[in-house]
């Protein structure tokens, strides 16, 4: 039986007086892909951001890859946790002042303390894997949306994370580019060693169907269906 990499226990979150997450219990087994769906404003992105501490939770706790997120958690503990949890943002948030290669190397050097040659080797391998080896010297502003999404993905993976959080990875892309990203993600999940666990927020049913082992549906901050899970 596979162990669980993420376990949410009674996770609650409010923005001011407005509750956005109501006591969510769920778990994600290592190596699985969970798709988080729901209407706009249902709390999907907030839940995703709680899983790497970009949003603080108010009640309950989340165990992620051996770290525990609680309402009161130190900045240092969050920094340690994030080294194991990658995130790809909806608007990519590549570093505009750095080349593609440097975008992939900076985190490795600063957080993983890798030497520059080592970081570059890993970065080049990943760029090849997402089909962007040729654009390593380009600035993010010179890339198309799909290319930026692939760089963002590679940047997160370069950190050797155990869990990858993706926020709407295909929402800003045309259908053809979207299919390419889906293929890359699919390939990633199959080929990653050790196994990579993915949680993705999406409206894209094609993506959810093709990749997800489990689909969680959120409605007004409550987890209403969690197919294949045992909370």
């Amino acid at each position: 039986m596979k162990e669980s990499l993420v376990r949410l226990s009674g996770v609650g979150k409010r923005f001011g007086a407005r509750p956005v997450l109501h006591g969510i219990d769920a778990q994600v087994t290592s190596g699985s892909v969970v798709s988080l769906v729901g209407a706009s404003g249902s709390g999907k992105t907030t839940l995703l951001r709680c899983m790497n501490g970009l949003e603080a939770i108010d009640t309950g706790h989340i165990d992620v890859a051996g770290h525990r997120i609680e309402a009161r958690i130190s900045d240092a503990e969050l920094t340690r946790l994030r080294a194991d949890v990658g995130m790809v943002f909806q608007d990519y948030q590549l570093f505009p002042h750095l080349s593609v290669l440097d975008n992939l190397c900076l985190g490795q050097q600063v957080v993983r303390k890798r030497s520059r040659p080592e970081a570059e080797r890993r970065a080049c391998k990943l760029l090849e894997r997402v089909g962007l080896a040729e654009r390593r010297s380009a600035r993010p502003s010179e890339l198309s949306g799909g290319q930026r999404q692939r760089v963002a993905l590679a940047r997160a993976l370069a950190q050797d994370v155990k869990l990858l959080l993706l926020d709407e990875p295909t929402s800003a892309l045309d259908p053809r580019t979207r299919d390419e990203i889906v293929d890359i993600l699919h390939d990633l999940v199959r080929r990653s060693e050790p196994a990579l666990t993915l949680i993705l927020v999406t409206h894209d049913l094609h993506l959810a169907e093709k990749l997800a082992d489990e689909v969680w549906t959120l409605e007004a901050g409550r987890l209403v269906t969690a197919t294949g899970t045992s909370p």
Partner: protein, 496 residues
């Protein structure tokens, strides 16, 4: 003998005066009498005992020269009217016709006689050498090579240059003595009227008994005003004869043996013998001034820029008390004049920390510009999208790592054009440091303008050098701006 510190007004005034000096038109006697008013120019900053405002009755003027002016006007059967003018501007202002006579501690020199008419003397002054109480100097000759304070455009300055000491120029008459007491100079040479009131009275100082030289205060009159000159001379003679002049000087405790003693053995020193044309030596001095300006500006900005970044960072990211302190710093240093800050730093804090003029200039400019840079960086840091910090934090960067590797590099690029612009501003504001005795480019220009009696050539030269220093920077700022313009829209979607 007052000196205003309004260097810029001075510069504007002297250049303007220079432009029209060819058509000088100081009024003559007929005009004065038909107007019923004798307008006399002086500078209130010269203070007691020359001409100053009555502290108990602001708006009323007092001083021995006020009384002499009133007496002269009475003799001419007109009223006296005081016209406030920056002391160093008195001669050009007379030529421009701003007033009819100069009556404000104007020393009789050959150089002045070439430019304007002067009356018979109304007062004899002695050049007094003031030293620290424990010093053993006995005269100018023993001060060779030593720094000696004085005021620009004075006979004392000419004497110092001939004595091969190192003259240090001040803008007001109290500062030279304060600096002497602090040990920044070795002596001060100025008229006894000033020395008696500001120097000899300080506990740390003493004045040497023998005058270094003697000279006269005279009334300055327009070059073409023959009748007015005769009338003033006649009036002065009558005042002397009737004893009224002596009465005035006695009331102001200015009557002494000098007034009745033998005339000075030698004429007041003729102006320092200078080549009246711009020479290679002058150009070299100008280049030195430009070098000082550049050096001080560069050092000051090298401090101001990081200071601004630290202040902006504290203001944006620190706790409440840190934010408050940084905001207070910015408001105080932005909200008070740089000139005042320089005075406080150099003279005000001299008991606590004795800074050299160069250090005080660099620090003063850096502290002031640090406040401006803080605002530039604050705007630039705020302009970096929050998502960038989140992306860095999500990669596992600590807060400081995300600032250092992601936020700062982007903010610095945004701030660069404004920062370069501020450096150009600082380069020009550095002219204010002449108030703390640094002879930089503008000060060099004002000194030379007086020597050459030409405001246009040194003025243009000075402007040209400022331009040569700032223009490349302005170009650099524009290039950087162009480079930092928003990136072109992303290339069309293409499968890689």
């Amino acid at each position: 003998m007052g000196r205003s510190v309004k260097a810029r007004a001075w510069l504007a005034g002297t250049i303007a005066a220079g432009l029209i000096s060819g058509q000088a038109r100081a009024a003559d006697l007929a005009e004065v009498q038909s107007r019923g008013e004798l307008r006399w120019g002086g500078d209130l900053q010269g203070g007691e005992p020359y001409v100053f405002e009555d502290e108990r009755d602001p708006g009323t003027l007092k001083g021995f020269e006020v009384e002499i002016a009133d007496a002269l006007a009475r003799e001419l059967q007109v009223r006296a009217k005081f016209v406030q003018t920056d002391w160093s501007n008195l001669v050009p202002a007379l030529e421009r016709g701003d007033f009819d006579i100069i009556l404000n501690g104007l020393e009789d020199t050959a150089e002045r006689r070439e430019r304007i008419r002067v009356s018979a003397p109304y007062f004899t002054y002695g050049e007094t050498l003031t030293i620290r109480r424990e010093s053993s100097y006995v005269g100018l000759a023993t001060l060779r090579g030593k720094p000696v304070g004085t005021l620009n455009q004075t006979v004392a300055y000419d004497l110092l240059r001939r004595a091969a000491v190192e003259p240090v120029l001040y803008e007001g008459q109290q500062e030279p003595y304060l600096d002497l007491a602090k040990g920044r100079t070795e002596a001060v040479l100025l008229d006894h009227v000033i020395a008696d009131r500001y120097g000899c009275v300080l506990q740390e100082l003493r004045c040497l008994p023998d005058d270094v030289a003697r000279g006269h205060y005279v009334v300055g009159i327009g070059k073409q005003a023959d009748a007015l000159t005769r009338a003033i001379d006649g009036a002065l003679a009558r005042l002397a004869e009737s004893g009224e002049l002596r009465g005035i000087l006695t009331r102001w405790q200015l009557w002494d043996a000098r007034q009745t003693g033998p005339a000075p053995t030698s004429r007041p020193p003729a102006a320092h013998v200078t080549e009246r044309r711009l020479t290679a030596g002058h150009l070299l001095l100008f280049l030195q001034g430009a070098w000082i300006t550049l050096l001080i500006s560069a050092f000051a900005f090298a401090l101001a820029s990081p200071l601004g970044l630290v202040l902006a960072t504290v203001r944006l990211y620190a706790g409440r008390s840190g934010r408050w302190l940084a905001a207070a710093y910015v408001e105080v240093f932005r909200g008070t004049p740089l000139l005042l800050q320089l005075y406080v730093l150099y003279f005000g804090l001299a008991d606590v920390i004795r800074l050299s003029p160069f250090t005080a200039a660099v620090l003063g400019l850096a502290l002031n510009y640090g406040a401006y840079e803080a605002e530039v960086y604050r705007a630039a840091l705020s302009a970096v999208p929050v998502g960038q910090t989140e992306a860095a934090r999500a990669l596992g960067f600590s807060f400081w790592q995300s600032l250092r590797h992601v936020v700062f590099p982007q903010a610095l690029r945004t701030a660069l054009p404004a920062v370069t612009n501020d450096f150009v501003g600082l380069l020009k504001d550095s002219s204010l440091i002449s108030v703390i005795t640094v002879v930089e480019l503008t000060k060099r220009m004002t000194i030379l303008a007086v020597e050459l009696r030409d405001w246009i050539t040194p003025g243009l030269l000075c402007a040209g050098l400022y331009f040569a220093l700032s223009f490349p920077l302005a170009r650099l700022a524009r290039r950087i701006e162009r480079r930092l313009e928003p990136a072109p829209p992303p290339a069309p979607e293409t499968p890689a």
